[in-house]
């Protein structure tokens, strides 16, 4: 579904990604783990077009999307729930969700319209807290609720691939559990996902396949089960790299 080949990216003069190879097959959950500053978020940003890659290629469902602006990548069918939630604070929860469906609601959007009202209802079923607060300004939600909204908003695109960047960041333990439960549900429904998580063990538990990122390079990759038992990866969970 999503194939990333020799991806390079930089912030100004600082090279962050030095040629990353990732494959996310249809219907699978792939997780990207690594310590702070390894380049996980940068990888996500380069895939979704928030950051223009400096090299390599990205194909989504056979289409080359390398270097396209974010809005065109979204129209092809990739949703990205970004780090830091990034909900639209002055607009209502419901409006945030409708904006998630922007590509389905508009002429230039190109995504099939489908049943938007039904999807809105389904999103509010998955996240009942949002149903209670659907007419409230998104900026007034708690951090956890905003995270739910960011995920629900990404789902409203009805994406072929969903990128989730640190969906559990800053959440209370009980909410972290809920977030992983929801990721499991989405997986059961056949959603293709790329997951970046600080809780690497939980991420590897839900994922089919995992990649370990170190200093902008893929250090190890393999089936999630295998990575969970790899002593070197266990060290990398903690952000300690032993040579």
């Amino acid at each position: 579904m999503l194939v990333i080949n020799q991806l390079k990216a930089a912030y100004g003069q600082v090279q962050v990604l030095h040629g990353i190879e990732l494959t996310i097959p249809k219907g699978q959950v792939v997780t990207l783990i690594g310590s702070n500053g390894a380049g996980k978020t940068t990888t996500m940003r380069a895939i979704s077009g928030m950051l223009k890659p400096t090299g390599g290629s990205i194909t989504l469902g056979g289409k080359n999307i390398t270097g396209l602006p974010a809005h065109r990548i979204a129209r092809i069918g990739l949703a990205h729930s970004p780090e830091g939630r990034r909900v639209f604070p002055t607009q209502s929860v419901r409006d945030n969700l409708l904006l998630g469906a922007f590509t389905r609601l508009t002429f230039g959007g190109k995504r099939a319209r489908g049943d938007i009202q039904g999807d809105l209802d389904r999103a509010l079923d998955i996240f009942p807290r949002l149903r209670e607060r659907q007419f409230q300004q998104a900026g007034t939600l708690s951090g956890g609720e905003q995270q739910m909204l960011a995920m629900a908003r990404a789902l409203m695109l009805n994406p072929d691939v969903l990128l989730l960047d640190e969906p559990s960041m800053g959440l209370a333990p009980i909410l972290v559990e809920e977030v992983f439960h929801i990721i499991g549900r989405l997986k059961a429904q056949g959603m293709t996902m790329l997951l970046v998580e600080q809780f690497a063990s939980a991420a590897l538990a839900v994922a089919d396949y995992g990649y370990v990122l170190e200093n902008g390079r893929i250090a190890v990759h393999g089936p999630a089960e295998q990575l969970r038992n790899d002593p070197k990866v266990r060290a990398a969970y903690l952000g300690i790299v032993q040579h």
Partner: protein, 296 residues
């Protein structure tokens, strides 16, 4: 008392003109953090094009005032889109912090020069579409055109607000204003939203131009002072607050008419600008400016 009421009413009409132009400043600032410093010239061009269409200076009148207004709005929108495309887009693309300031000022000067060559340097009268005999309202004399200024200004701002709240495209504009990157992830072409906001900005200025032209004179230099004062209004009211520009506009309008009468017309611009300095010193985000709350 009657005189004060009279002054207040004239001040309100003038203030609403400022508010409409300042509204234009807000719309581009919200989406892109940039301003069109040629707003005054956009107003002037709107008035001149309006006069050419419904006055007799270019062999017309071709259409009456009411049919002319939508044509001028369309012209204003195209002119604003042109300014964005030529002057602002390159600056945003190269992340130049000040490029757009110079380029919008430069485009404004070019537009004024063109206008001077096309329509001459003299001020021209703009035929009023409404009777020019004042009507009595609460003991004050008000020109019907002044009333139309107020109604037209409120109507325009209400329509834009309605668009922003109710249509998915309006919501996309608001989303672009609050987080451009996140809006892009929704599939919103934020570059196009910025072009649209420039079109809207110049369109409101052109609208202000055809509203005010019948009560003043029309000429190539009519926009400069209005554009500057409306900028002061936008700063006083707050560049991020819709209500702010109305209050700021009314404050400046009334301050001008009352000072002009009670003190001296020579000083009529002073209180408004003093207010501007005070606001900048005490509450730089403007009287109604919001500081966004970010939850971490």
């Amino acid at each position: 008392m009657d005189i004060l009421l009279q002054l207040l009413m004239s001040g309100v009409a003038l203030g609403m003109i400022y508010a409409v132009i300042a509204f234009g400043y807000q719309s581009t600032f919200a989406t892109s953090g940039t301003l069109n410093f040629g707003q005054g010239e956009a107003l002037m061009l709107g008035a001149m094009v309006g006069l050419s269409l419904s006055g007799d200076i270019m062999g017309g009148p071709y259409v009456n005032y009411w049919l002319m207004v939508p044509l001028v709005l369309l012209f204003g929108a195209l002119q604003g889109a042109l300014v964005e495309f030529v002057g602002v887009r390159p600056a945003i693309k190269t992340k130049s912090e000040f490029g757009w300031i110079m380029s919008t000022i430069a485009l404004g000067i070019i537009f004024r020069n063109v206008a001077e060559n096309v329509w001459g340097r003299d001020d021209l009268p703009f035929p009023s579409p409404l009777p020019t005999t004042p009507i009595h309202l609460f003991g004050a004399n008000v020109l019907p055109m002044e009333l139309m200024v107020v109604v037209g200004a409120i109507l325009m701002m209400a329509l834009v607000e309605f668009f922003n709240r109710r249509s998915i495209y309006g919501k996309a504009v608001v989303a672009t204003s609050s987080d451009r990157d996140a809006a892009g992830l929704m599939g919103i072409n934020t570059g196009l939203v910025i072009t649209f906001s420039y079109a809207l900005s110049s369109m409101s200025a052109a609208f202000a131009g055809v509203l005010i032209a019948p009560i003043t004179l029309t000429g190539a230099s009519m926009g400069a002072v209005l554009g500057l004062k409306a900028f002061a209004v936008a700063i006083i009211g707050g560049l991020t607050s819709g209500l702010g520009v109305i209050v700021g506009g009314l404050l400046l309008g009334v301050a001008e008419t009352t000072t002009g009468f009670y003190v001296s017309t020579g000083y009529k611009d002073v209180p408004g600008l003093v207010l501007l300095l005070l606001v900048l010193a005490i509450k730089p985000s403007g009287l109604f400016g919001k500081t966004t709350i970010k939850k971490v």
